[in-house]
Amino acid sequence: MMCADMEVQLNEYVDGTLRVAQRATVDAHLAGCAGCRAAVAELRALVAGAAALPKSIEPGRDLWAPIDARIVQGATRNVQRPFWRGALAAAATLVIGFAIYRLLPPSTVHDHPEGTGWVAVQAEYEQAADELTRALAFEHDRLAPATVALIERNLAIIDAAIRESRDALARDPGNVELRGLFAAASRHKVELLRWATRAAT
């Protein structure tokens, strides 16, 4: 039985990652401890066994056909890229539209969430944006660099709007119009991320 406080040192000893002085200390301990000597022998056998496992295992079926189909599908999608350029223009329009929207007087804003559940609304937008951002981070290299750059530029504009409205709300938490602005900016962010994620996948 290995000494309870020796697990880390014995593992490091077997891995050869101890410094000379530490190694000497473990050597001295091993000289007088049969349990730890046995544990070192087991660890060495385990590490050697793991390294000797076959590096290659053939799958139960040939996977090339579905891979080939997806590759061909991807090539078709690339040919259709001009379509996405159109969608990009739409995304840019969306952001410009939002900028105009911000300039409108509050009376023309139709979609402000009311006070009830405001914290939940904020949390919901933030969670949706976070999830989409992570999904996009996973897939974004499927997009052309120019597309990614445009998305990032637009996100920066929207994030700035979110920051501004959040700062204003911190000073005036009950202001329904500010909440409307925050909600609109957040919604635009979610819409843009949703579009980008769809485009990437």
Binding site: E42, G49, L53, I57, I67, I71, G74, A75, R142
Partner: protein, 176 residues
């Protein structure tokens, strides 16, 4: 693993599916083994193997030959598996449910596979996911803790702790 003829890689980079199929044939066993050991689930391993090769095809242009093609492909595979596992966990899907994976039964039936190896494969498959992943990457695949930390997003200390835990659990399982 033999070196890939560079003209095969160049042809695949220029969009030649036949060249890419040859690369697939040369590496599928290694990629699938990695996916199978990381997931302990044959169906998921097949999915991730497909995802890894599709992703490799899409990213071939970014392979510039600084490392061996095989190293590039296996790192990409680890990435695909980890991102896929995380996405599944977020969606609440099953990602790990086996203490006796059918896929790992197959080597027992093959000639020349020692029983001790199969016992080890089964014990590894039964480890908790975090411990299993680090054990496979470190002790089976030979990655260093720093590389594992970079690939998986965990701290180096966590990688070590998971490895030592995996070894402890394996020693217990194999001594029964």
């Amino acid at each position: 693993m033999q070196a890939d003829p560079s003209d095969l890689i160049e042809r695949a980079q220029r969009g030649d599916p036949a060249a890419f199929e040859a690369l697939y044939r040369a590496h599928v066993g290694r990629v699938y083994a990695l996916c199978l050991r990381l997931t302990a689930d044959a169906a998921r391993a097949e999915e991730f193997t497909q995802d890894a090769f599709v992703r490799a095809w899409e990213r071939l242009a970014s392979f510039r030959g600084e490392s061996a093609f095989s190293s590039w492909l296996y790192r990409l595979t680890v990435n695909v598996v980890f991102l896929g596992q995380r996405a599944s966990r977020r969606r609440g899907l099953r990602v790990f449910t086996t203490d006796d994976p059918a896929a790992l039964e197959r080597p027992r039936d093959g000639p020349g596979v020692p029983g001790a190896q199969l016992d080890l494969e089964r014990a590894v498959a039964a480890l908790p996911p975090g411990a299993r992943e680090v054990f496979v990457l470190h002790d089976v695949e030979g990655y260093r803790h720093q590389e594992i930390a970079e690939l998986t997003g965990i701290a180096v200390g966590t990688s070590k702790a998971q490895l030592f835990r995996a070894r402890r659990l394996l020693r217990e399982a194999l001594s029964r």
